[in-house]
């Protein structure tokens, strides 16, 4: 087994220094905002995620190597170009894991944690799941192992991918140069991803390359006339890391328990978050459709004085 460094572990001291730097910049300029308890929760979620990842690592490494050794089509070796290819393909796999993390409630139960802060700063990048091991996310990486890329290389480039995504969780940077905004994921693109404005829901899933969002129709640019408002459609009412970590899983169990038939039980797991058999809750598609309807009515002049679009806080 190839012995490679763990980029995320090496980057932790830099993460801490950059968070402190952003805090000071925000304190002086107002371009970034922190809150003590929110920061504490985000960083504890990050620490817990590292522990949870370490506990499940042996299982995922074992499965990945078993697939690679027994079913790998080619022997790709360890040349530099293999690392480059692995980085691009892993980023594509990340796009689909991330997209399914928003569109399938089973995977959302783990990913929702990352979106549960109403703040958007570098500490939000560390607000990571403790329960990713209980989702089918690893399946999206299988094609890389089947292609013959050694799992250690895939895990290494995935680490670099995650390290890249740290710096984009900031409001302190407005826009990068146009060419950079076109090719790479940036703070502007990722702000849209974290926004709960109906216009911005379920967009910009990219890890590093924005090509995937442009290719698969999920790209939405940030608008000057609509500031991002961060958090969940229904925000959490707690800073307690344990409640943050498991709240959606509990919701799924409750829904499955009370579902009338097996089809509904399965759909509570596989359908988008907010799906219910009777439509009593709203999926992001329904929220966006309702918003579009309200916008159309406003434009047609049927309703006057509707102030409900104000960006509260």
């Amino acid at each position: 087994m190839l012995d490679l460094l763990a980029p995320t572990q090496l980057a932790v001291p830099a993460f801490t220094i950059l968070i402190l730097a952003e805090m000071i910049i925000g304190w002086k300029s107002g371009r970034a905002r922190y809150e003590g308890k929110d920061t504490m929760t985000s960083m504890l979620m990050g620490l817990g995620s590292t522990v949870a990842g370490a506990l499940s690592a042996a299982f995922f490494i074992g499965v990945s190597y078993w697939v690679w050794q027994n079913f790998g089509i080619f022997d790709m070796g360890t040349a530099l170009w293999v690392f480059a290819l692995a980085f691009v393909l892993d980023d594509l796999a990340y796009y689909w894991i991330h997209r399914m993390g928003h569109r399938m409630r089973w995977m959302w139960a783990a990913h929702v944690i990352h979106h549960s802060s109403q703040h958007y700063n570098l500490s939000t990048a560390l607000r990571q799941t403790w329960t990713g091991a209980f989702t089918p996310g690893i399946l999206f990486k299988m094609p890389l192992f089947l292609l013959g890329i050694e799992p250690a290389i895939v895990f290494f480039v995935a680490g670099i991918n995650l390290v890249y995504q740290f710096w984009i969780h900031t409001e302190a940077i407005d826009k990068m140069p146009r060419w950079f905004e076109y090719i790479f994921n940036t703070p502007s693109h990722h702000r849209v991803h974290h926004a709960n404005n109906p216009r911005y829901l379920d967009a910009n899933y990219a890890g590093v390359f924005m090509a995937w969002d442009r290719m698969f129709g999920s790209f939405i640019p940030e608008r000057k006339d609509e500031a991002c408002r961060y958090g969940l459609v229904t925000d959490l009412g707690t800073f307690n890391p344990l409640r943050v970590a498991v709240h959606e899983w509990l919701g799924i169990f409750k829904d499955i328990w009370s579902a009338k038939d097996w089809k509904h039980k399965v759909l509570f797991l596989l359908a988008p978050p907010g799906w219910t058999p009777d439509g009593s809750r709203m999926t992001s598609d329904m929220i966006r459709a309702a918003w579009l309807e309200r916008e159309a009515i406003k434009k047609s002049g049927k309703v006057t004085g509707d102030k409900n679009t104000i960006a509260a806080e």
Partner: protein, 146 residues
């Protein structure tokens, strides 16, 4: 992860959070305007512009109840969470357990991340709010957000 590294990380987290709390102290309490703005954001399906909700603020300005005057059912509870606001729309008063506490009212929401919300208010206001919430005829619950 070695135990010493874990403890060291916990200490680092506490220090960073403490610095954040010192640099960005939470000053903004709830005001009627802030409650209405946030209720409007959470409940875009309700046109609040033509009929603003009646807002009952708690004594410590940490929580508030917003009653919709033009709707026979439903109200919203806003609570400050750090420097932000969380709103829960209650489509029907019967969906929550409301109990009188020593200094006000306690709403049991059955919400895992916010099981109970306490609203401190004087006895007269408390009584007025209870009658407002319980006297109205209820209808079918409105859809809640995802």
């Amino acid at each position: 992860m070695p135990f010493t590294q874990f403890i060291g990380s916990l200490i680092a987290v506490a220090i960073v959070a403490l610095i954040a709390a010192r640099l960005f102290p939470t000053k903004n309490k709830l005001t009627k305007e802030r409650v209405i703005n946030n209720v409007a954001r959470y409940c875009p399906h309700i046109n609040l512009a033509s009929a603003p909700p009646l807002v009952y603020l708690s004594e410590n300005n940490a929580t508030a109840v917003a009653v919709f005057p033009n709707r026979s059912d439903g109200f919203a509870i806003a609570s400050a969470l750090g420097d932000r606001v969380v709103v829960r729309e209650i489509p029907d008063a019967k969906l929550v357990t409301i109990t009188k506490s020593e200094n006000g009212l306690s709403f049991n929401l059955g919400d895992f991340t916010q099981p109970t919300i306490e609203i401190q208010m004087p006895a007269d206001q408390r009584q007025a709010l209870i009658s407002k919430l319980t006297s109205r005829p209820s209808e079918k619950p409105e859809p809640a957000h995802a």
